[in-house]
């Protein structure tokens, strides 16, 4: 699960988390008692309102160009991962 969640855990952390999550899941198991479709009245919960299907102004508070330190050809740039330099070098080798 930790791998699926993209979180690396140490051995002791895995054991601790396993115990904690087991305890939490024991408590939430009570949810299995519930049945029914859970239909609610018109006031609850507040449903997300639908807006008119018309073009709306750009919701960004500042222009796209100001949301990142650098922009190249319309793409945000981020620091390179060092290993990718090695991969690129390998691919360029005939």
């Amino acid at each position: 699960m930790a791998e699926l969640a993209s979180v690396r855990l140490t051995g002791p952390e895995v054991e601790r988390l396993r115990t904690e999550l087991a305890a939490i899941l024991d408590h939430v198991a009570v949810l299995s008692e519930l049945s029914g479709d859970g239909a609610v009245g018109p006031d609850h919960p507040p449903t997300a309102p639908l807006r008119d299907d018309v073009e709306a102004p750009d919701p960004l508070q500042v222009p796209l160009s100001e949301l990142a330190p650098t922009l190249v050809d319309g793409f945000f740039t981020v620091p390179r991962i060092a290993a990718l330099d090695d991969d690129a070098a390998d691919r360029s080798t005939p």
């Binding site: 699960m1 930790a2 791998e3 699926l4 969640a5 993209s6 979180v7 690396r8 855990l9 988390l17 904690e20 999550l21 305890a23 939490i24 899941l25 408590h27 939430v28 198991a29 009570v30 949810l31 299995s32 008692e33 519930l34 049945s35 029914g36 479709d37 859970g38 239909a39 609610v40 009245g41 006031d43 609850h44 919960p45 507040p46 997300a48 309102p49 807006r51 709306a56 102004p57 919701p59 960004l60 508070q61 500042v62 100001e66 949301l67 990142a68 945000f76 981020v78 620091p79 991962i81 060092a82 290993a83 990718l84």
Partner: protein, 480 residues
């Protein structure tokens, strides 16, 4: 009119200077954050910007302009609300050096109303917690007892108001994170109806539960701030296109004759005896003030914490997936592959509680478990909402409960038992699950620790909640 209301009038008329109140606030913050037992309510303070903003308010007034309905009000902002000029860390190593390029709508509206942002307050990491012990930068103390927690996750905001460092503060409330610390610190805290206040610029924890909330010393102060920041926002599709009623006017309407329901499920023997006593006494005061107080039932209350645990974890695991070390925030150094960047960044950038919720959320959404946990949690949520709906349709105007089962607990008491920590929100999570407005106000003490009483109302009926809260505040004489 509250003391704050009188000061706003004085600043607007020129009888008082916004700069003076701001200077006093900054001095108080400086004193509280130094010394042998720093309160640690604040993660960042910008004195120069605050004083400049206060002088600008005074200048606007002196030139005959409109200084705003919150002219000179000193405001602290929970550090998961994006602000310009101040960092937004969310109490996490993941965003330790992050400066947002945009500002939350709620903050922007309060600045436009003349409020002065003095700093960012401490919180449990990404809003996940009930004690502020999960902040990556150390906990905040409870101003009433330095050995006890201020509550969470908006512990810094609650402590800042309780200690008199600021007039009001913003928090966020996903399962009680404004109301529970308000109860623990002896201040007023309100979560509006889901959709009443824009979430634009509120760093997402659980998007179907999160709401921006307000903390203040008086019910009237909370109403003023809510009035100024509520309303539709084109930048948040979940901010409802509903007009905001005149909440200050609502406070002045007589509460006599209103019907208050006290659910039997919230006053069991599991609740601390002195908390039960304060709630009973407060209910008596409401009766004496001419309100009709009756017992009601919300039969699915016991499913609320389990449902909240699942839904909040699921949504957190989705919302926190963006923190991968690629675009912004912390990136683990020396990671030797793309996947290592993700794994190491998230292992080192997140604290224990955030990682716990991410893994739990991933698990309950995974194949074979989705129906057993997530679908059942949503079913419970619908049942809980229907319980409230049934009570309100039967003629109850507001529901009155303890805010928390106990007063503030000691540091270290619950941090090693995650579910015990979640249980401190047992009475607050229901309002988030149902999307209804809820407010906590001080209703007395257990020894020297504050006790909070909670009022919950129909969706969009903040006015009724505020009206009864103001009546109770007057009856109890709990104004500071």
């Amino acid at each position: 009119m509250s003391e704050l209301g009188a000061r706003i009038d004085a600043v607007r008329s020129g009888a008082a200077a916004a700069a003076a109140a701001t200077g006093a606030s900054l001095s108080a913050i400086d004193a509280a954050e130094r010394g042998p037992h720093p309160l640690h309510a604040f993660l960042a303070v910008d004195s120069a910007a605050a004083l400049a903003a206060a002088q600008a308010v005074d200048g606007t007034r002196d030139r005959g302009g409109e200084p705003g309905p919150l002219a000179g009000v000193t405001l602290a902002v929970k550090d998961n609300l994006c602000t310009l000029g101040l960092p937004t860390t969310c109490g996490s190593r993941m965003l330790e050096d992050y400066h947002s390029p945009f500002e939350a709508t709620a903050v922007r509206r309060l600045r436009d109303a003349g409020a002065i942002v003095v700093g960012k307050t401490n919180l449990d990491e990404f809003g996940m917690g009930s004690s502020t012990e999960h902040s990556a930068f150390g906990p905040t103390l409870n101003p009433h007892d330095a050995t006890r927690v201020p509550g969470g996750s908006s512990g810094g905001s609650a402590a800042a108001v309780a200690a008199g460092l600021v007039d009001v503060a913003l928090g966020s409330d996903t399962g009680g994170s404004v109301r529970q610390p308000a109860a623990f610190c002896g201040v007023v805290g309100m979560k509006p109806t889901y959709g009443r206040v824009s979430r634009y610029g509120l760093v997402a924890f659980a998007s179907s539960l999160d709401q921006v909330g307000v903390l203040g010393s008086r019910v009237e102060d909370a109403a003023r701030v809510l009035q100024a920041m509520a309303g539709p926002d084109a930048r948040d599709s979940t901010a409802a296109p509903r007009p905001v009623p005149d909440l200050l006017k609502a406070l002045r309407v007589e509460a006599r004759g209103m019907v208050v329901g006290v659910p039997r499920e919230y006053t069991s023997d599991a609740v601390h005896a002195q908390v039960r006593n304060r709630v009973r006494e407060a209910a008596d005061r409401l009766r004496e003030a001419g309100l009709d107080v009756r017992t009601v039932s919300l039969p699915h209350t016991d499913y609320a914490v389990p449902a909240y645990c699942v839904i909040a974890a699921v949504e957190a695991s989705s919302n926190l997936a963006r923190y991968d070390g690629v675009r912004y925030g912390f990136r683990a150094p020396a990671a030797d592959s793309t996947s290592a960047v993700y794994l190491e960044t998230r292992a080192r950038g997140f604290g224990d509680e955030a990682r716990r919720r991410i893994v739990l959320g991933t698990y309950v959404l995974s194949a074979g478990y989705h129906d057993r946990y997530y679908q059942q949690a949503q079913r419970a949520r619908a049942h809980i909402a229907r319980d409230f709906d049934r009570v309100f349709r039967a003629g109850v105007d507001v529901i009155f409960t303890p805010t928390t089962p106990t007063p503030a607990f000691r540091f270290g008491e619950r941090v090693g038992d995650p579910y015990a920590m979640y249980l401190s929100d047992a009475f607050t999570v229901t309002a988030n699950l149902a999307g209804i407005p809820a407010l906590s106000l001080p209703i007395g003490c257990a020894g020297r620790l504050p006790v909070g009483g909670q009022l919950m109302g129909r969706a969009w009926d903040e006015a009724a909640v505020l009206r009864v809260a103001a009546a109770l505040e007057r009856s109890l004489g709990t104004e500071p």
